[in-house]
Symmetry: C2
């Protein structure tokens, strides 16, 4: 498959097969991509932040860490991470996020809206969108107070993270719509589905 | 309603009405209670850690904080918290938790199993059990590395946390089954549903 581009403030979905690789690239730098994954054979099985945190004993996941499902099965493994900082605590930005946090009077539908549209063709309901793996999202966590701050991503132009699918998956990806997440510049996200892993040094 | 007791390593579920209060007490100290909440009128709406973190801008929630649903609506407000430390990042302990983390050969069904049983009578499927609000669970988070450590709860015998229901809710509660969460002593949890709030000083 050739490299695909997700336009700013949009999203997409696709199938990847067990053993294939998904490479997500930030082409311009400082952009976030919310990722969801569902078992293609049974969409009631989906990516679970809580299970993944528990088994990694860490809330920041990187190379070697596994994204687990709600059924405690392995969905994806992070096999190459050029950035090293992603978020897995927050739900996708939405109309309500923009209304409640930003005070927007006519809020954008956000990553939530884009994911809903992208997943509708797989008959996945909006209510079945859990916490996303927010690629490149840089959420500072104060370990004493629990306070979180959404900071500009650490990703530089051209940096990527690559996942191996551990089962056949429906994957949805966005180019994030929230200003706070991407330093108030709405940019695209690139992705490729690969049959073999090539790590450039 | 009189005070009810959840026996060690079990769970329960019940309905609370909008405006009623749920008081959860740790009768012996250092015990955890995993709590889930669903909109009683539409069970597809459920408690969401990601939405709640986003709107609080904090991952440790206490008095005054709101537990939001996946639809960004208010489910419960924490109105009185005598302990001040709870977890909202982890999914309920399960057979798989005990197998993967503890290496148990014949694992207990855990809070997940108890919640599944308690929610079955409301026709809520096991797959629809998200990250729980883990009352009194003390999870240390290293803000630099993201490493998490499950420590003994800070709750002393008789201390409680009280929630106000912001809509009619199906609530499920456990007396936690995981040794790591309760300093390896499996104890009961008490709860009351109250029509008025009485705060003792």
């Amino acid at each position: 498959m050739s490299r695909c581009r997700i336009k700013p403030r949009t999203g997409t979905s696709f199938i990847i097969k067990k053993g294939q690789y998904l490479k997500v690239t930030d082409p311009e730098g400082q952009q976030v991509s919310d990722m969801l994954a569902y078992n293609a054979a049974d969409k009631r099985e989906y990516i679970s932040s809580g299970r993944s945190f528990d088994y990694a004993s860490r809330i920041f996941l990187t190379t070697g860490d596994v994204l687990y499902s709600n059924r405690s099965r392995q969905l994806m493994t992070i096999v190459n991470d050029e950035v090293g900082r992603h978020d897995f605590t927050l739900t996708p930005c939405s109309k309500d996020t923009f209304r409640i946090i930003y005070g927007d009077k006519q809020p954008h539908h956000g990553c939530q809206g884009n994911l809903e549209r992208a997943l509708a063709r797989h008959e996945i309901e909006p209510d079945n969108i859990p916490c996303a793996f927010n690629i490149f999202m840089n959420v500072d966590v104060n370990g004493r107070t629990g306070e979180i701050k959404v900071l500009p991503p650490l990703s530089e132009a051209g940096q990527s993270v690559t996942f191996r699918a551990e089962m056949d998956l429906i994957v949805a990806l966005t180019a994030c719509s929230a200003g706070q997440s991407n330093n108030f510049t709405y940019k695209p996200i690139d992705y490729e589905v690969l049959n073999t892993l090539t790590v450039e040094n």
